[in-house]
Symmetry: C2
Subunit: 115 residues, 2 copies
């Protein structure tokens, strides 16, 4: 019996798929930051101050590989590159909205119960 054969909910489980695409510490933060248009690397780094440059580039690359963001090189010197959401990338924004609803509701109940 191979590993995949006993995957809970099967290999096409939407939870697993989502985790592969936007799981981890930074991806949703990046996607959410890109909601308003296109941004240069340095701009993103200012908007998300506690991410390292390496992680930012690395995650942008992964997101681009999955067609969630697009990288546009303007071919100038010094380099000018910017990133924006693709149509697929904006599919992730409702996810962020759900997370906000969850976090807010949880926090409210938590404080109501024992705060």
């Amino acid at each position: 019996m191979s590993q995949k054969d006993k995957l809970a909910f099967g290999p096409r489980c939407p939870i697993r798929t989502t985790l592969e695409l936007v799981g981890g510490k930074w991806k949703l933060l990046i996607l959410h930051t890109l909601r308003g248009g296109s941004y240069r690397l340095s701009e993103l780094n200012k908007l998300i101050p506690d991410i390292s440059e390496k992680m930012l580039i690395q995650e942008l690359k992964v997101l681009a590989d999955h067609d969630l963001v697009v990288r546009k090189n303007h071919g100038e010197v010094p380099p000018r590159v910017d990133y924006r959401l693709t149509e697929k990338g904006s599919l992730a924004l409702p996810l962020v909205a759900s997370m906000k609803e969850f976090a807010d509701a949880y926090t409210a109940m938590h404080h109501a119960a024992q705060g």
Copy 2:
């Protein structure tokens, strides 16, 4: 300047809060599995075959610490313990629904574009 002072979106960022509560490989899978009622450890392990017993127990404990699930010990021998969602825990179910919508829409677009 402390680390927290430069957290992107601040320390109460809903994305970060959500990741702390239900981030990781297993928590949402467990919560989703518990949607239908209460289950014993061994039942959960059958429903999620590729999780190790250790991870299952460990994650259930973390979820219980955050009041997302409740552990009920029936005080029998051999031990009989079951777990179910709390009210807070069921707040996470819409999150799973959003993930399914995302994954389905992404997959559909992906196949339409290059499948």
